[in-house]
């Protein structure tokens, strides 16, 4: 898994590529929970290059969303891959997140 954090005028974008699983999700969790409170208006998690995501990845996204709500920030999933959407649909969590194209 590779993570890159970039900032636009008002949003922080975290771009994730590769597999998000029990091994890699702690690193993503750290990046997300660090970025959310510091973001100007919110955080977008770009998941277009994610080849696999398990429930620990889903849990990380849920934690990010909760943290964003607590901090009064936006939280969106950007261009999630079919692999990501499939897991969110199985978990009935696809409609909880704001999803937008790249």
């Amino acid at each position: 898994m590779r993570i890159e954090t970039t900032k636009t005028a008002d949003e922080t974008i975290i771009t994730v590529e590769g597999d998000i699983d029990l091994y890699s999700s702690p690193e993503l969790r750290t990046s997300v929970l660090k970025a959310v409170p510091k973001a100007k208006t919110g955080v977008g998690i770009h998941l277009g290059g994610v080849t696999y995501m398990d429930s620990s990845g889903v849990a990380t996204l849920v934690e990010g969303l909760r943290s964003a709500k607590e901090n009064g920030k936006n939280f969106a999933l950007v261009a999630p891959s079919t692999s990501v959407m499939k897991v969110l649909e199985l978990a009935r969590l696809d409609s909880i997140f704001e999803v937008r194209p790249a």
Binding site: Y52, S55, V58, A59, V62, K86, L90, I96
Partner: protein, 150 residues
């Protein structure tokens, strides 16, 4: 074990989960499952292995997780077992997947739900001093098979 079963033994190291997923993926391809179902089965088996590492072995990476892959014309069956701390029975209980209320959103606890969601039959061995095991069976129907649309 049946003669064409596959037995895998892997260290309880999360870095190796990708290897396990790769093996299961190729095996399901050989079995003739359609890509969508392959992805779901790989996910559910990965969750079972992750649970063994996280809960039974409490993150220890030098223990052992064992998988048995078995297929017949009627079903595909995968058993995941460990020799770790027996998990409480309520951890393996079937709870239907429902869309949570946003106020109740809590991370975690999804793995077992996903296993039940993907497989037709899920049997957890009763927790004993000898560890845990879960046997997951998928009934083969035409819609799961490659070439069934012909």
């Amino acid at each position: 074990m049946r003669t064409d079963d596959i037995q895998l033994q892997v260290s309880s190291d999360p870095r190796l989960l990708g290897v396990v997923r790769g093996v299961i993926q190729v095996w399901l391809e050989v079995c003739g499952l359609v890509p969508d179902r392959r992805h779901e089965v790989v996910l559910a088996v990965d969750e079972a292995c992750s649970n063994a590492i996280r809960h039974a072995y409490e993150g220890r990476t030098d223990e052992s997780v064992e998988l048995v892959l078995s297929a017949s014309e009627e079903w595909i069956e995968i058993t995941v077992s460990d020799q770790g701390t027996p998990c409480p029975s309520e951890c393996s209980e079937y709870r239907p997947m429902v869309k949570p209320d946003e106020r109740e959103l809590v991370p975690g606890g999804l793995g077992v739900k996903l296993i039940h969601e993907v497989f037709d039959e899920v049997r957890f061995c009763p927790g004993t001093t000898d560890g845990n095991c879960v046997t997951m069976r998928l009934h083969r129907t035409a819609k799961h098979e490659v070439g069934s649309e012909d």
